[in-house]
């Protein structure tokens, strides 16, 4: 098991459910016997601000955070956040990005512009970009609130262990009433890659 520590970042807008995605990941890695660290930010930036969660796993993990050039995978819940955190990706890392756009206040007020063609520009830099309409898939699964689990499904594809491990973790973590929706959301994400 002496593989190097793997680094995954989950980035988005406060309120999008990034914390559930990191919680599910953390649980799955513990299940597989890894040392795990997850770093979250609670409080002020939760309110519609840019949020980031770091998940690290391997034989022994020291720092709880991921720095520029260190992430193997970035899961972005929104395109502008994908652009903001791009420098944290390893040059040969994978960016999984939902294609939704949410204007931040400086764009709404007209003080700044939302950049054009974010994902194509990132691709042009030679980065492997997986673009996905997670909101549509979540809606198809039964609830837009399962967008986070769709994105987890996409990421699970690149993390290399059995789908059942993930589904077990999803079942044991989400509220009982939402299990069916979340299972479906995960499956749709996993199949979409």
């Amino acid at each position: 098991m002496s593989q190097p520590v793997k680094n995954i970042m989950i980035v988005g807008v406060g309120g999008q459910g990034t914390l559930l995605a990191s919680k599910l990941m953390g649980k799955a890695f513990v299940e597989k016997g890894f040392d795990v660290k997850v770093s979250e930010v609670h409080g002020m930036s939760q309110r519609g601000g840019s949020v980031v969660t770091y998940v690290r796993y391997g034989e022994k993990v020291y720092s709880p955070v991921i720095e520029k050039g260190e992430a193997d995978i970035i899961i972005a819940f929104e395109q502008l956040e994908a652009a903001r955190w791009l420098p944290y990706l390893k040059p040969d890392g994978i960016l999984i990005s939902d294609n939704q756009k949410i204007d931040p206040m400086p764009v709404i007020t007209g003080n700044s512009a939302y950049p054009d063609k974010i994902l194509p520009s990132i691709r042009e830099k030679g980065v492997q970009v997986i673009e996905i309409d997670a909101v549509a898939l979540a809606t198809a699964a039964g609830s837009i609130r399962a967008t986070n689990v769709v994105l987890l499904g996409v990421a699970a594809h690149f993390l290399g262990f059995d789908k059942e491990v993930w589904l077990d973790v999803v079942r044991s973590t989400v509220p009982p009433k939402t299990i069916a929706i979340n299972e479906k959301a995960f499956e749709l994400g996993f199949a979409a890659k």
Binding site: K37, H42, Y62, P91, M105, G110, P115
Partner: protein
């Protein structure tokens, strides 16, 4: 079986395992989840106190009464609790007591970046600093044992990355600690000059004994790798340094940051080449090392400001930066904003036209400082809006008082706004104070407080009656408004400003995120009527934008149907009746 836990949850678990029975805290990021997590253990009584001073005194009283007790707060909260802290140090404990204080280097959610170790040193209270969740659990338990052994309250220093980081812990069963006997002991518990002079001597001896203890107890650990470089660090900086330098350096990891050892640090320095001190915020360990003749490098290379990470250490010590990619375009920032449907938006939008000096305070409503609302003139610390407004008006006279208000949240008003309001009433001031009563402590993630009639566990209890309270302290003019009724709100505030006597305006409407709040359906824009004038954007709501090429390129408004909760503020700002249900 190992469990993945937040540092804060691990501290709460330790309270359970260490037989703690009394917990009293005031919320504050990043410390809040400790006390929230403690509520799951029925054996542990927990409560939200009105402020940190009260919380500390409740916990200290419980310790005097023989229980193991606890309180938690953020770094600035310890300033509020500093008064009891410094004298509790002289008295010591009966049952063990631990106070957790969570620093916020990098200021993820704080108004300053102070280093709480200064309070430990100045109050002569020992302080432990864990570096992950497992140590949050083991150090907290150890702190109870040491608290009783050395007869002192203990401080537990946390920081954002430790409190809000999840890592693996091993759980153990609870150990009961029956309440100890209480015996009246005036020499120990009554701090008048004659007694305190004696107790101060005791404190100095205690610090020496603790210093001896930390030299040999194993609380500080040494890891020898490459000995050309030696790193002295503690808490989260150990993790950053170990990550950045790996086996290229040897490490002295401090578990106790007050008092600091001398002999073992000297010994470490003798075994390694160049010694670096890697500590976040101030140069406390570095200064200590210099005082004892250890030539170290610290703040010469590493910053005083901001949070540390492996890359800060890597760049400072190795001059290395990892390759990475960035887009060429500018990325607009995404600052936090008031939520969709937030009642504070109604109040600020209502008052916008009045061009007021707004003495601000700390809470969600501080976000009203940002564009496009831009409604706050000052923000200092909890409670300062009320007393600060009184001072501002004293300086500038009664005409100014007709153009200035204080805004303060319900929780903040209870925390330390009441005393400022008493000052205004007692000293014949004429200020207008607005309490933004949203029935919850919002900013820190929804904690009940003395104004909303619910305990920490959600059980019904008495609620402070703000109107009656204001009358009782001598404020005769008290009005209640609904901040979503913007016209009535503006008129009421204008009327109160005109009076040459103090007023309390209570803007009352529950937080939009409360489960008990029923929302309207989303509103829609009539694109025929919309002229693209952008008036609706003045309230700074994240669910409405104006875009497209219609209206000669001005665009049309569009409301996000997934986000909008129908608060109608934008509709009231529209002169063309273009926004409706």
């Amino acid at each position: 079986m190992k469990t993945l836990m937040l540092g804060n949850e691990a501290v709460a678990r330790a309270l359970y395992e260490a037989g703690v029975t009394v917990v009293s805290s005031y919320p504050g990021t990043p410390s809040t989840e400790i006390t929230e997590a403690a509520t799951q253990y029925d054996e542990v009584y927990s409560e939200w106190a009105p402020n940190e001073k009260v919380a500390f005194e409740v916990a200290f009283g419980a310790a005097t009464g023989g229980a193991r007790s606890f309180c938690a707060m953020k770094h600035v909260g310890l300033n509020v609790a500093a008064d009891p802290l410094y004298t509790a140090s002289y008295i010591g404990v009966n049952g063990g007591m631990v106070c957790a204080v969570a620093d916020d280097p990098g200021m993820h959610s704080s108004q300053n970046e102070q280093d709480s170790r200064h309070h430990a040193i100045a109050s002569k209270i020992p302080m432990l600093e864990p570096s992950d969740s497992a140590e949050c659990l083991s150090y907290t338990k150890l702190a109870y044992q040491l608290s009783e052994q050395f007869d002192t309250p203990f401080l537990l220093r946390l920081s954002t990355r430790i409190s809000h980081g999840r890592s693996l812990v091993d759980l153990s069963p609870r150990e009961e600690h029956p309440i100890k006997d209480y015996k009246k002991d005036v020499m120990k518990n009554v701090m008048m000059p004659a007694m305190a002079r004696v107790r101060h001597q005791v404190v100095e001896k205690r610090t020496k004994a603790l210093q001896e203890w930390c030299e040999t107890s194993g609380i500080n650990s040494v890891e020898y790798n490459d000995t050309r470089v030696g790193i002295i660090c503690a808490g989260s900086t150990y993790q950053c340094a170990r990550e950045a330098l790996g086996e290229r350096a040897s490490y002295f990891k401090l578990g106790m940051v007050n008092p600091l050892p001398v002999k073992s640090l000297l010994d470490f320095a003798r075994h390694v080449g160049q010694v670096y001190v890697i500590e976040e915020l101030d140069d406390i360990i570095e200064t200590h090392c210099r005082k004892h003749g250890i030539p170290v490098i610290g703040k010469l290379l590493l910053p005083v400001c901001g949070e540390f990470s492996q890359s800060v250490v890597r760049e400072a010590l190795l001059g290395e930066e990892l390759p990475h990619i960035a887009l060429d375009q500018a990325i607009p920032p995404r600052p936090p904003v008031l939520c969709v449907g937030c009642p504070h938006r109604g109040l600020f939008t209502a008052l916008k036209k009045l061009n007021l000096y707004v003495s601000g305070d700390i809470g969600c409503y501080t976000l009203g400082a940002q564009a496009p609302l831009s409604m706050i003139d000052t923000c200092v610390c909890m409670g300062a809006s009320v007393s600060g407004l009184h001072g501002f008006n004293l300086a500038r006279g009664s005409q100014q008082a007709k153009n200035s208000v204080a805004v303060i949240g319900d929780s903040t008003f209870i925390h330390s706004g009441i005393t400022g309001l008493i000052d205004i009433a007692y000293n014949k001031g004429f200020s207008t104070v607005i309490v933004l009563d949203n029935s919850i402590t919002g900013m820190t993630g929804h904690q009940n407080n003395p104004t909303n009639g619910l305990t920490i566990k959600g059980d019904p209890t008495v609620a402070v009656n703000l109107e009656a309270l204001a009358h009782a302290i001598g404020i005769n003019r008290v009005v209640v408004v609904d901040p979503f009724d913007m016209e009535a709100t503006r008129k009421a505030v204008e009327a109160e400003l005109a009076f040459e006597e103090p007023s309390l305006v209570i803007a009352r409407r529950p937080c939009a995120l409360l489960k008990t709040v029923k929302h309207n359906p989303p509103m829609v824009v009539d694109t025929e009527k919309c002229t693209g004038c952008k008036s609706c954007l003045k309230a700074g709501c994240p669910s409405i934008k104006v875009h497209g090429e219609a209206n000669k390129g001005r665009g049309t408004a569009e409301i996000d149907q997934n986000q909008c909760v129908g608060c109608e503020i934008c509709a009231k700002l529209c002169s063309f009746d273009a926004i409706n249900f």
